[in-house]
Amino acid sequence: MPDLRIDAIINGRKVSRTAKPWQRLIDFLREDLHLTGTKEGCGAGECGTCSVFVDGVLVKSCLMPVAKAQGARIDTVESLGRNELSVLQKAFHKAGASQCGYCIPGMVMAATSALRANPFADREEIKERLGGNVCRCTGYQKIVDAVELARDVVNGRISATALEEEETADGRFIGANVRRLDAPSKVSGALKYAGDMVMANMLHVQVLRSPHAHARIVSLDISEAAAMDGVEAVITSEDVPGVDGFGVFVHDQPVMARGKVRYVGEAVAAVAAEDVVTARRALAKIKVVYEPLPAVFSVEEALRPGAPVLHDYAPDNVTKHIPVRVGDVARGFAESDLIVEQVYETQAVEHAYLEPEAGLAHVDADGVVTIQSPSQNITHHRHMLARILALPINKVRMIMSPVGGGFGGKEDMIYQGMLAILAIKTRRPVRLVFTREESIASTAKRHPSKTTLKMGLTLDGRIRAVEFNMVCDGGAYGLSTEGVMRKAAILGAGPYNIPNLKMDTYGIYTNNTPSGAFRSFGALQAQFATESHLDICAERLGIDPFEIRRINAMRPGSKTHTKQPLKSASLLAALKAVAQASGWEKGPPTSRGEARRDLGGPGNRPSCTLGSRIDGAPGQARDEVA
């Protein structure tokens, strides 16, 4: 394998090194030169976190073989603002454009490229030029605001003082525009996420995953993989020293599949090797014989009598049932003038945080197993790890590395156990960085749901009774399902006074990818049903959809469905603000035509177009400045 010779100017410095012929530019920058401001969010050119300048032109370094860098001048995010943040970086700081920060170095690079190409780019052109970069936190508005702010400062349209912190009146921060303290570390690319961290003598971990949704592991032979040069350790469930089980509410998930696999993507074995390529080649040498078992892929299949059972402790495949009862629904329906019943379904959703899961573990000098990972629940992870590793709690340390987007998806402890076991076994630091595909295949999703909702109302729009039955696909393991079902049951009927309520939420085991925590934690699915239903009821009753919500709104003094007295309630104020901001045309849903009257008017976005660079009048913006 003849190595390549790479002579390049990187961030203004001459670099002469060898590289592996298969390396991509991103590997060379991150692994060999430790320039980790360049991130890998997808490895497939889809997300833009790896954007760098090659001979002054912005490219995606995950799509560029390193051989193409021979003789080139390369500038990474580390080349910007070396002594002082660049105007763009300051503008990102000021505008609050960075949240988790993982997309931000790429965004700063794309914005730098955009303003170099056209220092007068208007908002539409900026959006176009940033089209190759994905962000999951901000909704993009603040990022585009930041680029516009930087453009105007650079062009002298506004003073550079606009980049400075605004003074807060009398030291009051509520309602003030405050800059985030951690933004400079993010806009500069200096912040180290778990996948950016290295330790001396570190090994690289890769995970063998199940190709079956439900199968018994007949045999698992790691001998050939373990004997390979460069492989330090191969582990399976047999290597778990303590009680093998984790989960937020029920400890039903083994660190690696034990006896059987329950979903496609479940960890079966893990390899620690000198480099990622060797680790991946070792995975191919692990011999697993599976005996496929009947599987269930929907809640209906899982609840059918005689359905395949996933976990022995739950022979009915029910992970959790949460009931809430208020009043008497039979009486409530009898008092109703209108009864509407509908079924609502929602699908699985991937969190798609820009930072794929990653972790670094080592055993320190005092024998403390230390794991750094972007975990949203480190104390709980620590407790579970102590049990799994059969160690006293003071011998386990969890450090929360910066979370490059979580949205609930990093609450569940999917891989930290494997890292801890490998660190103990090899007595060397070990690091695992998920690929994007692995992240999508193996980690939790939003619960798919099916809700049957029956509501009884009087002709004047007052809700008299609600019967709400929501069944959620929790996938193969419990994770946060119980909490998600509880939250759905508590909040799902909405902030409305309902005198008679029968609410049931169920989490069900299936052989699908496990479902877990995701922003709003079950309330979203339930409220999608409730709010959609209220619109339908408003239509049937000829009442304005805002009005039907006002009629039933909880007010200060109301009690929630779980008997919590409310000292304050802001629904009426929120409804007023939304009606105003949306330019709501009053009246029942049937009173409007098929299109909004203000379509294409001020405050409405035009439909998707491209080509402002071709069709726009480039002279216009410049004239304005002159």
Binding site: L4, A44, G48, L63, V277, E437, R613
Partner: protein, 306 residues
């Protein structure tokens, strides 16, 4: 991931052919790399080991561009971005800048090459419909018995099916040649799930030339991608319009002509509807850009489609 034992970067055709001969059966050509790297990942080809990768982007003939004597010649390793920012090419190929702006994103346009887009032969390749509309040919070269052989294949004879081309194992795509069509109005319409970095569900390239009166079609060229294994010219629609007076009714009849080659396995009805809208919009946009008088079409037609 994609691994290899050797990565070669020849700087001349001779060197490239020598490397191909030395590693016959163990090599793959690589240009921009923007298709092959995502291909060698989980869920697609998985981990792929190619013993020898031969990078052809530093062969100077493959990046040359020339507009002369009514012809355009573009090296196969030309990045897509050049169709957007090279004025001479953009003038001679009026629908290409509009295709380029929809192609992937700003970064990938600097990396992906036009030759790679053709050689990859995706049914949804954005580069193919405009080149079909330009009646492009593809120049392929090989070295057989020590002699450099070149052949020029019409693009529709080069792409044989989804992922299939006429490129032989010992051949390199050198350049794309086509008629220069300055004075034509060009359009490119595309729809996918989002604006950037998206595979076309349907895309359409349009070229229109007006006669001296500016009220009659002198030439019309339309090509469609994303709806059948190989992008296609809409020959019947073109013939129906060529030489005809520009008129709203005729445009509507043209767009209503049966398009039985919409063969996609999924969302066929949706695609048919989009094709109808795109024929209208593509023609209207190309007409405007060709300089048609503002009053040749009913204003409501333009409002509805363009």
């Amino acid at each position: 991931m994609l691994t290899c034992d050797e990565y070669l970067t020849p700087t001349s055709l001779d060197e490239a052919f020598a490397a191909m001969a030395a590693h016959r059966g163990r090599h793959r050509l690589i240009a921009g790399g923007t298709d092959i790297l995502p291909w060698a990942r989980e869920g697609r080809a998985g981990d792929v080991d190619v013993p020898v990768l031969i990078d052809i982007t530093r062969i100077s003939e493959l990046t040359e561009r020339k507009v002369a004597a009514g012809r355009v010649r573009v090296g196969a390793a030309t990045p897509i971005q050049r169709f957007l920012d090279d004025k001479a090419i953009a003038t001679a190929m009026p629908c290409m800048p509009r295709c380029a702006i929809w192609f992937a994103d700003d970064q990938i346009r600097e990396q992906a090459t036009i030759g790679g887009n053709l050689a990859n032969a995706s049914p949804a390749a954005d580069g193919v419909p405009p080149l079909l509309a330009h009646a492009a040919g593809v120049e392929l070269a090989s070295k057989r018995d020590g002699r450099l052989m070149r052949r020029l294949l019409p693009l529709n004879k080069f792409i044989l099916g989804s992922g299939k081309t006429a490129l032989a194992d010992d051949e390199i795509m050198i350049a794309i040649e086509c008629d220069a069509l300055p004075g034509y109005g060009g359009s490119f319409e595309k729809v996918g799930h989002r604006r950037s970095l998206v595979i076309s569900v349907v895309c359409l390239a349009g070229l229109v030339k007006l006669d001296a009166s500016r009220r009659r079609f002198e030439d019309v060229r339309l090509a469609l991608g994303g709806v059948c294994p190989v992008p296609q010219r809409l020959t019947e629609v073109e013939n129906f319009l060529r030489g005809a007076a520009i008129d709203s009714g005729r445009l509507e009849r043209a767009a209503a002509m049966p398009l039985d080659f919409v063969q996609s396995r999924t969302r066929r009805e949706y695609r048919r509807e989009v094709v109808h809208g795109f024929v209208m919009r593509g023609l209207i946009n190309a007409l405007r850009r060709a300089g048609a008088d503002a009053d040749v079409l009913k204003p409501e037609l333009e409002a509805a489609y363009a």
